[in-house]
């Protein structure tokens, strides 16, 4: 099987409101920087293009098609889209390359969440008969998950505040972060509850932005003369949509995906976890069995900025950046989708020869 590697990754800043900028205008500068990083001119120079976005954010069916305007898709290109985080667009692109239908691919994800009411928009991804008509929002579901953990003594509010504090402090070194600062756990605990038991700081912010990545076979990456990071494993797993039947204190699907992706075949220097709520970072860290030897969310994670439909791809991009800079040799990236960590994807990344 051909080895596949990442050769370029770029993202926008995470901003709370991109203003009048439309999706195409969000995507185009990121694509331009990504092509430049890879020494390519346009989507004509890769074998496949796949994007991730959500029509519910734009509020119109097939709204994602407009995103293709950012590519300049003439002459025609091989293109696809997932109504999922762009981490899953990466997954589809890897299948395309492994099937021999392409040697390289451009992946991008974008979301402009600010015009709508994101937690309510996300209620419409739930069971269409039992939950969506109640408009139960994503933050309330996460709050119930956190309370189960608190009630059972699996975490304390202090543990959650420590996750937030570390995120804010790590994000001070992330130029794209929306929320950063020298915030102590005590500062977080001094905040009143927002959606009890959660404080506002326990929840990721609503952000606008986009990210993009170029992957290629190792042969192609070498031919391009680019530093590359090998994707040694990728897998995903989903749990039932019935929240009452899940063990919300664990992430079984993350653990299965990580095992299948080969996470445990070596040391994990860095892990970027898509945890939209502070307690979920603890669930994921435990589900994956990560210890002090792994730097968790050195970027600040999505508590520092959550590019809906792109944050999963960004986790992979963040690990790519660390390995290219020589700060890590091997790492994992996690992406999630659905309420309370329902659907999870794990990618294992390893240093290439000239990374």
């Amino acid at each position: 099987m051909k080895q596949i590697a990442i050769v370029a990754y770029q993202q926008t800043d995470s901003v709370s409101d991109a203003g009048a900028v439309n999706e195409v205008e969000l995507i185009m500068p990121v694509l331009a920087r990504t092509f430049k990083q890879a020494g390519l001119k346009s989507a004509q120079d890769v074998g496949f293009t796949c994007s991730g976005s959500c029509d519910y954010l734009q509020g119109a069916a097939f709204a994602f098609v407009a995103g293709v305007d950012a590519l300049g898709a003439v002459p025609p290109i091989k293109e696809s889209h997932v109504e999922m985080d762009a981490a899953w667009a990466l997954y589809e692109s890897m299948l395309k390359i492994r099937m021999g239908h392409a040697d390289s691919a451009l992946i991008y994800g974008f979301g402009k969440s600010s015009p709508g009411e994101l937690p309510i928009v996300l209620s419409q991804q739930l069971d269409p008969y039992y939950l969506a008509p109640l408009w139960v929002d994503s933050i309330s579901l996460a709050a119930m998950q956190a309370r189960i953990m608190l009630d059972r003594g699996l975490i304390t509010e202090r543990d959650m505040a420590e996750v937030v504090s570390r995120s804010r402090r790590n994000a001070m070194n992330n130029p794209h972060a929306q929320l950063s600062g020298d915030i102590s756990p005590e500062d977080v605990l001094a905040e009143e509850t927002y959606l009890s038991p959660l404080r506002k700081a326990d929840c990721c912010p609503v952000s606008d932005g986009a990210s993009a990545m170029i992957i290629a076979t190792v042969e192609q990456a070498k031919a391009w003369g680019l530093p590359y990071v090998i994707i040694s494993g990728i897998d995903h797993c989903i749990e039932t949509h019935n929240l009452g039947m899940r063990d919300l204190t664990d992430s079984v699907s993350t653990r299965i995906a990580a095992n299948r992706a080969g996470m445990n075949a070596g040391k994990v220097d860095v892990a970027e976890l898509y945890a939209p709520f502070s307690h979920q970072e603890i669930i994921l860290t435990r589900a994956l069995g990560l210890d002090e030897g792994t730097s968790v969310n050195p970027s600040g994670g999505v508590l520092a900025g959550n590019l809906m439909m792109a944050s999963g791809l960004s986790r992979i991009g963040e690990v790519f950046n660390r390995i290219v800079k020589g700060e890590a040799r091997r790492g994992i990236a996690h992406a999630t989708s659905g309420p309370c960590l329902q659907h999870n994807l794990v990618t294992v990344l390893e240093q290439g020869e000239n990374a």
Partner: protein, 146 residues
């Protein structure tokens, strides 16, 4: 230059189809219309409310309905200080996972309570029915503390 005329057309989004809810979801909704709550037995014997069509672990088709109570116990809850416009209540309330009497799996619905301090994990609640029931999950208007 004169102001250009802005073209206007009224538009009402309508769906030209109806959808059958099937023998499991449909049965549950029909029972709600009669102010009754039923669950279904999963492969391992657990009673699931609202009923699922398939067992999430074994993928077996489920068909054994079970009558459950209209009262139950709060398994977890989230206190909504500032309800959103789409929420079913416009005064502070709780979302809760409620395990009804006779059920093994909690369901999610809203709970009316005057204050956060009134509600707790383990608290008993009962269903409050809408004035008119139409075979929809919102036939249960909310749950209230017993």
């Amino acid at each position: 230059m004169s102001q250009p005329e802005i073209l206007n057309q009224a538009f009402e989004l309508g769906y030209t189809y109806t959808r059958s809810t099937g023998p499991v979801v449909g049965r549950f909704l029909t029972e709600l219309k009669k102010r009754n709550i039923v669950g279904i037995k999963a492969s391992d014997g657990r009673v699931v409310v609202p009923p699922m069509e398939y067992d999430p672990d074994t993928a077996a088709e489920l068909s054994e309905f079970v009558q459950v109570g209209q009262q139950g116990e709060i398994v977890s809850f989230a206190w909504v200080k500032e309800p959103r416009a789409a929420h079913p209540m416009q005064v502070p309330f709780a979302w809760a996972m409620i395990k009804l009497d006779g059920a093994d799996v909690p369901m999610i619905h809203c709970v009316a309570a005057a204050a956060e301090s009134d509600i707790a994990t383990g608290a008993r609640v009962r269903a409050v029915w809408a004035d008119e029931t139409i075979g929809f999950i919102t036939d249960i208007r909310c749950f209230e503390l017993v």
